[in-house]
Symmetry: C2
Subunit: 246 residues, 2 copies
Amino acid sequence: MTAIRGARERARIEVTAAIKDEARRQLAAAGAAKLSLRAVARELGMVSSALYRYFPSRDDLLTALIIDAYDALGEAAEQALAKAFHDTPVDRWTAVCRAVRAWALARPHEYGLIYGSPVPGYSAPEATIEPASRVGLALIAVVGDAHATGVFRVPDEPPAPEAVLRDAGRLRERLGVTLPAPLLAETVAACAQLFGLVNFELFGQFNRVVEAREEFFDRAVLRLARGIGLDRCAPAAAGGGDGAGA
Amino acid sequence: MTAIRGARERARIEVTAAIKDEARRQLAAAGAAKLSLRAVARELGMVSSALYRYFPSRDDLLTALIIDAYDALGEAAEQALAKAFHDTPVDRWTAVCRAVRAWALARPHEYGLIYGSPVPGYSAPEATIEPASRVGLALIAVVGDAHATGVFRVPDEPPAPEAVLRDAGRLRERLGVTLPAPLLAETVAACAQLFGLVNFELFGQFNRVVEAREEFFDRAVLRLARGIGLDRCAPAAAGGGDGAGA
DNA sequence: GTCTATAGCCAGATAGAC
DNA sequence: GTCTATCTGGCTATAGAC
């Protein structure tokens, strides 16, 4: 009984994966708005109605693809972070940013699905929120680890507006991080800016303008890190910072 | 004869405008990928084939909408710049950025059309390049004017990679600006980052994270300006800088 | 320039046999 | 779970009358 159920579930998982794979292929060809259950079924040698056993509607298939994309990108970011564990904060920051860009270049259509214009008529369910935050959390971890080694940021020029600090404070509690609110707010902004760089490259705004894409990106990302203050900091892994004192 | 031709041309212009208006309305409802000549015609009380006298194909209509969007956004940016003519460089920078954000918030679907994921199966013709650069040129003008008042940027920390400088040099010549290449490269990066901020807000990435959108944006944009060095500079309009000397 | 008509496609979703 | 069949709608684009 359990063996049969196991076999059935395995088959179900395999077919589900095949459907998503084919759907991803079509995403590249036609775009999210035109993703069609029928076309997917056709290509898989199935009949359209059979797909409804796996995904109750087109939008559910879309949701699955979106979650998968967020998870894949998030995992790429986290792996890059793990690999750079013993590096300096700036290098860890750069590693995560590069991983994001590399993933986006490798899977431009899935990237567009999550960071491009929203699919019209589709509204993302709650389930997408958590996977969507993984990249941001990786970046916050870099800054948080760096901060934990000691205060690395001097004054704060004009302080952030109170409303911004309130938002950052709320986020801080929800995430359970120790990063001070002003620094968290800056990290969030840097995150948006990072994706702006990737978007411009991927969506063609750099055509005829920036050809040395990688060098341009690396430099911009380095400046982002410096803007946050990551350069004024010792390597994060050691624990006690030797570059700054509290 | 010329009167008739004039009347005909007027009518043609009016109908063309009506088609584009309705198409923009549908853009909001269904998205660019599903923009349909038939639906536009239906709503206008025309028959679909009649539209082909105005736009030879669906893609041509799309091109017209894209160019209009770039032009409208560019004009908003340029007007903001003109209005802030006598302000400090940082204030002019902020004015342009705010104009971009305001336009995007007012016309999110047209914004998505030009700065969101590319429409699948559609490739932008050459004619879109020039209108697409207007916002960037406005930002470059701010930095250029500021720079013209005197050197406002101290060293350059690690210098930009040579490949980046080559790109910037080419761009500099093409645009005919006097801005030094390293500064131009930084301005281009800041431009991409600006649109990253707008995208995140518009495409929902700030949901549940940033509520004080305006304050957050203003602050991020101010930091962008400072990153370029615009804060170390006198008002631009006067000509002779009093805040820095070459 | 607008109309009718038509060709040749496509889609999402459901019913009911097996 | 998969199939056939079907409903109901959509689309781009063209031909040819008026």
